[in-house]
């Protein structure tokens, strides 16, 4: 995407829909803390991607508004039964120190493989909490911090769902990621049990000429709120919720399986119809030939027979915000795990989306998709989790410290 390289606010994809009130969308140009929009030349500090470092301290945690790294692991843990308020604080003492060291390449104090930690590869570790942890810390649980309602399309499996604590690890090197994950999980093992790990990846060569494509081949992550500017309130929690969460966010993580065996039977025209976008460029099917992914979709355009050019069941139409608040930052990763017996693949999308309030922003969109979305023919949500993402640790502060205020 080159959206933010043109200077000024990112170009906006304003859909010409009846619900145009939904307002402006920035087209994915990641900015924030690592500075570089996708496809932009690397900054000097990133000259050696092996040792590139993203900031740990700040108002917000990393791994949210910054450009998505190539590899991710999401690890959910449950607190052991005897973990009380004091133990939760000890948990954050260890996590804060070890995460800061891992992100800066210094290696945790107990690390006997510091050579692996030295390759920071843009590592971010983003910490989220579930309702049980917040309750044990004695803090106010926001109303939205609960499992999502069950949707008709869901086939949710417990083994990919829920959790008291989330670690989202992202890096440009899978070795860095594996090491950081192992060190953090062992460091907190006396306090937590591991619930699940989900691993994902994006396009390693992602840039101007190689957009993020999911495993159905679609350009993914194009239409996004302008979270570095006018839409910041859609991403970060503010004064409306508990004080400990100001500057934090919420993560909705949906594990969505793709049935690629049946998708393989579908021709390209039907595939484009299912989304409402072209496969080659990612441009809306209503855009003139030669248009790019950032071209604006025309939801009202009709063909000679009077049918909408963007199908009534197209994912673009169904997912499009019907009100300005029905938007969130998507930061998805593909997964491609070992196939189970009798199948040739276990693939899909780790649909990770950040927002200030999932019930208000995400649920109406997911409900619309559950009611009708051509993509549902080939996709099934099999995992679901919601976490409150802690605000960033300021200088001298522990992650989660404001839970104890």
């Amino acid at each position: 995407m080159t959206a933010t390289t043109t200077g000024g606010p990112a170009r906006r994809g304003l859909l010409a829909s009846a619900a145009g009130a939904a307002g402006a969308f920035a087209l994915a140009g990641w900015s924030a803390s690592d500075g570089s929009p996708r496809g932009a030349p690397p900054r000097p500090q990133d000259a050696d991607p092996a040792t590139s470092v993203r900031p740990f301290r700040g108002e917000h945690q990393g791994g949210i508004a910054d450009r998505p790294q190539t590899y991710a692991a999401f690890a959910a843990l449950d607190l052991r039964p005897d973990v009380d308020r004091d133990a939760v604080r000890r948990l954050f003492t260890v996590l804060t120190d070890d995460i800061e060291r891992l992100m800066t390449g210094a290696a945790p104090v107990t690390d006997q493989e510091p050579e692996l930690a030295a390759v920071t590869a843009g590592l971010t570790v983003t910490v989220g909490v579930g309702p049980a942890l917040v309750a044990r810390a004695g803090a106010t649980v926001p109303a939205w911090l609960a499992p999502l309602p069950a949707f008709s399309i869901d086939r949710i499996e417990e083994r990919w769902s829920g959790g008291d604590l989330l670690l989202q690890l992202c890096a440009e090197s899978p070795t860095t990621l594996a090491h950081a994950q192992r060190r953090l999980l062992t460091a907190i093992e006396p306090l937590c049990t591991l619930r699940w790990v989900q691993r994902g990846f994006r396009e390693p060569f992602e840039g101007e000429h190689h957009p993020m494509r999911n495993l159905m081949g679609q350009v993914d992550g194009t239409v996004q709120p302008e979270v570095a500017g006018r839409d910041a309130g859609l991403l970060w929690c503010g004064d409306e919720g508990p004080a400990w969460l100001v500057g934090g966010s919420a993560l909705v993580l949906r594990r969505i399986r793709m049935t690629l065996d049946t998708w393989d039977r579908v021709d390209r025209l039907s595939r484009e119809n299912a989304i409402g976008r072209r496969l080659d460029t990612g441009a809306p099917v209503t855009a003139p030939a030669g248009a790019t992914a950032t071209a604006i979709a025309d939801l009202n355009a009709k063909d000679s027979l009077g049918f909408h050019v963007i199908d009534d069941g197209a994912h673009l139409r169904r997912a499009h915000a019907m009100a300005p608040h029905e938007r969130f930052l998507r930061r998805p990763y593909s997964y491609d795990d070992a196939p189970t017996e009798g199948s040739l693949s276990d693939s899909g999308l780790l649909f990770a989306a950040f927002m200030a309030d999932p019930v208000r922003q995400f649920v109406p969109v997911q409900q619309r998709l559950a009611d009708k979305d051509l993509l549902n023919l080939w996709t099934t949500p099999v995992g679901s989790a919601v976490f409150a993402i802690l605000p960033g640790a300021r200088d001298g502060e522990l992650l989660g410290e404001r839970l104890f205020a």
């Binding site: 954050f92 260890v94 104090v109 107990t110 006997q112 006396p190």
Partner: protein, 187 residues
């Protein structure tokens, strides 16, 4: 045998768990002031004479039940003075005493840790690394659990007086070398 000294700064860490020599600040424990040499350990109020940088101790959560009698303390002892400092042992509220330990190969070829009777010499302006499987401090006769994420305080005996240091308690599956209480005269 007091090898493994590295230049100060080479291991600069984020968490300088440190602490001033007790004699320097007139704070803390009463026995600090009773040691005549205490003040000499203190280069200045702003630069503690001897610190334990990145200090950590193995938590008792990681130990099999019943084996919780002692634990190792690691990190980098850092000497900011222009005089060598000798660390010979110490005290901790968490146990009966603190000993200096080294790891040696025994007659059967396995690595064992044992008390280092000479103690550790932290060179002037230098450091002395304490690590699992190498030289380390040992809190003997633990009287309380050391829970992961908490802190443990040690008051080290040095030839320039007692020095208080703290260590972050961490889960660590290693540091399980078998232990030789006293070197036998025949070895």
């Amino acid at each position: 045998m007091h090898a493994r000294t590295v230049l100060a700064g080479a291991c600069a860490g984020l968490l300088t768990l440190t602490l001033a020599a007790c004699g320097g600040s007139g704070s803390s424990t009463s026995d600090a002031t009773s040691t005549p040499a205490a003040s000499t350990a203190s280069a200045s109020a702003s630069a503690p004479a001897l610190t334990l940088v990145d200090g950590w101790a193995k938590s008792t959560d990681s130990m099999p039940a019943g084996s919780m009698s002692m634990t190792g303390v690691f990190g980098t002892l850092t000497n900011a003075t222009d005089k060598d400092i000798q660390v010979t042992g110490g005290m901790s509220p968490a146990g009966s005493m603190v000993e200096t330990h080294e790891t040696v190969k025994n007659a059967s070829g396995t690595m064992q840790m044992q008390k280092d009777l000479d103690g550790f010499t932290v060179p002037a302006g230098g450091t002395f690394v304490l690590a699992p499987g190498a030289n380390h401090l040992m809190v003997m006769g633990l009287t309380q659990e050391l829970k992961v994420g908490s802190e443990v305080t040690l008051t080290l005996d040095t030839d320039s007086g007692p020095v208080e240091v703290t260590a972050s308690v961490r889960a660590f599956p290693g540091a399980q070398e078998s232990y030789v209480p006293t070197p036998s005269p025949s070895q």
